[in-house]
């Protein structure tokens, strides 16, 4: 008799491999064939995880059609099953996996769109903190280069492909022209959670660098320097007003390395 851990490993491989490596005489199922019954677990695992991926990547499903998506998902599940039981975290590696599929080699926009959808899923599962108002800082000395904290759900994605345009085109129920040629055009996307939804915007290079620096805690001075290096006409005041207006700022404080601190 196998030790329990060995037995469970064997069963798990049977369930994921879609072929019974467990010996039939280890199982019973009334008068039924136990190996046929084992397929119920195989189907449950595959179909429930495929459904989880389809829920996270709905536009990707439409881009490749559902049958192909199911095939790709099935392969992904077999090779990269979840490592934890929190399914909201399952699928992070799926966009990268799509890049390795030969059939999709001439459609790089599929994996790139999947990358955007994963960022959306992450944002939807992240806290939305109370936003701060610009007026709250009217009488506060924040020093010359304050630290600005942004919503933790903010995700910034840069792609060589027009991923936001693709994503937007698939938000309506209407059929998207299959012959449409998605252009190789860099897009810089910012997205964050607002209640039950995400807000998505295209950013120019300078604004993207500005937001990116703030998000990673480099402070206002560094962020402004990055933005100005890319666009000497970068308007810092407008950029700050926009961050507050979009309810993205959750805190502003004197920088920890500031001399005034």
């Amino acid at each position: 008799m196998l030790p329990l851990e060995h037995l469970q490993t064997t069963m798990a491989r049977s369930v994921l491999a879609m072929e019974p490596v467990v010996a039939a005489n280890m199982l019973t199922a009334g008068k039924a064939d136990p190996l046929a019954r084992l397929r119920i677990y195989q189907n449950n695992t595959r179909s429930s995880l495929t459904a989880a991926l389809m829920a996270v990547f709905p536009v990707t499903v439409r881009l490749v059609d559902e049958r192909f998506f199911r095939f790709a998902a099935s392969e992904f599940i077999r090779r990269h099953p979840p490592v934890e039981s929190r399914l909201a975290r399952y699928g992070a590696g799926f966009p990268r996996f799509l890049k390795t599929i030969d059939t999709l080699s001439d459609m790089p926009i599929v994996a790139e769109t999947a990358r955007l959808e994963w960022a959306i899923a992450e944002a939807l599962d992240t806290a939305s903190l109370p936003p701060r108002n610009l007026a709250e800082y009217d009488h506060t000395d924040l020093g010359l280069s304050p630290d600005i904290q942004l919503q933790p759900s903010l995700r910034l994605i840069v792609s060589h492909w027009s991923i936001l345009s693709v994503w937007m085109a698939h938000q309506q129920e209407t059929t998207v022209d299959e012959n449409i040629t998605w252009t190789r055009r860099p897009e810089r996307v910012a997205l964050w959670r607002a209640g039950n939804y995400v807000r998505l915007f295209l950013l120019d290079r300078a604004s993207f660098a500005f937001w990116h620096s703030l998000k990673h805690g480099f402070g206002l001075e560094h962020a402004t320097g990055r933005a100005l290096a890319l666009d000497p006409a970068f308007d810092l005041v407008s950029a700050l007003v926009r961050l507050f207006r979009d309810r993205l700022v959750t805190d502003a404080r004197v920088a920890s390395n500031s001399p005034s601190n």
């Binding site: 851990e5 369930v15 039924a32 119920i40 677990y41 039981s85 909201a88 599962d125």
Partner: protein, 344 residues
């Protein structure tokens, strides 16, 4: 730690599983539902659903039902997942916490399904150790749910019911009796469903689950699939009646996870569970009263002091009818009732 919520005990009546399509309606309509149950894993992040549940928790008693702890894993518990469960319990302060007698993690993979154990001493020691770890971490008793199964292990040395009974003795855990799971497993593995229920320690059963299942025909094999995708079928209601007859009223949950219907259908199923329980208890009291009367007539010198029945079937029926007649309840609910009356 100070409590965020006022304590709301789960009553021995029916509640519903909270599913995302219903959250908005639950918040705006606040329908009469005894209590709510959520899957712990859906509330381990920080999304909008978590914020909504914090608001609902102010109104409804809550049960947290884990589906991913894999209590039967020989490799032991995922401590990170257990810590996430602890945070969910700290955050929402549920009245009940439950998990499954199953495993879903092995060989570094999470299978997203609940697989059966080989019921023997080795497995019992592993599950008991894991349950004790969970109870110590959460600092509370947890309820362990019986499984719906499609296969069993030839080398099992005890039945699932015997395993659960022994687990209760060793760990002090409670039990969650899933009546639909009993029906599914008993059919698929060919044992007596009522005998399974009768073999469980009644006092340990702190909650009951009810759900629908699908019937699949594969060649000569007719297999019941625990899909939680339809109304509670008559055969499960009959088994529930048997359970309530033996146990008395228990918090009872209507589970519906696939093809989730409109909220009123769930509420209608919950109401039917309440009425069935009330009917059983009413009949029991009537029978006791009749027996008492007979005894009194036979021995007139023995005075009987029977306490007044506090709940009677006509009152409950009127209450249920009033709930049906409320404008917020749809016409569909009435037809559900009719359907069940017809089936009964």
């Amino acid at each position: 730690m100070s409590s965020m919520f006022s304590p709301l005990a789960i009553p021995a009546s029916a509640g519903i599983g909270l599913r995302s399509p219903h959250i908005s309606e639950m918040l705006t309509r606040r329908p009469s539902a005894g209590w709510l149950e959520v899957h712990a894993e859906n509330y381990m992040g920080d999304g909008a659903g978590v914020e909504a549940l914090e608001r609902l928790r102010q109104i409804y008693p809550l049960s947290v039902h884990g589906v991913g702890l894999s209590l039967g894993s020989a490799q032991g518990l995922d401590r990170d997942h257990l810590e996430r469960l602890r945070k969910v319990c700290d955050r929402f302060e549920p009245d009940l916490v439950s998990e499954h007698l199953a495993w879903s993690v092995a060989d570094g993979a999470y299978l997203n399904d609940l697989l059966p154990l080989r019921y023997d001493e080795e497995a019992l020691a592993i599950v008991a150790r894991n349950v004790e770890t969970v109870q110590e971490t959460l600092n509370r008793q947890v309820l362990i749910e019986n499984l719906s199964a499609y296969v069993a292990f030839a080398d099992s040395s005890m039945s699932e019911a015997e395993f659960l009974a022994e687990l209760v003795i060793r760990t002090g855990c409670g039990l969650l009796l899933d009546v639909n799971n009993v029906q599914v497993s008993a059919h698929n593995l060919q044992y007596d469903a009522k005998a399974f229920i009768d073999a469980l320690p009644a006092e340990a059963i702190g909650e009951i689950h009810l759900a629908g299942h699908a019937t699949n025909h594969v060649g000569a094999d007719t297999v019941l699939i625990d899909d939680h995708g339809s109304r509670v079928p008559p055969v499960v209601w009959a088994l529930y009646q048997h359970a309530i007859d033996r146990l008395g009223p228990r918090p009872t949950l209507i589970e519906w996870d696939t093809d989730v219907p409109i909220l009123d259908v769930l509420l209608g199923e919950a109401m039917w569970a309440d009425m069935l329980t009330a009917s059983i208890m009413f009949n029991r009291k009537q029978a006791a009263r009749r027996e008492q009367t007979t005894k009194t007539r036979a021995t007139p010198i023995h005075l009987s002091v029977q306490s007044e029945t506090t709940t009677s079937m006509p009152v409950l029926a009127a209450f249920a009818a009033a709930r049906c007649a409320r404008p917020c309840m749809s016409v569909a609910l009435v037809s559900i009732e009719e359907e069940y009356h017809a089936a009964a």
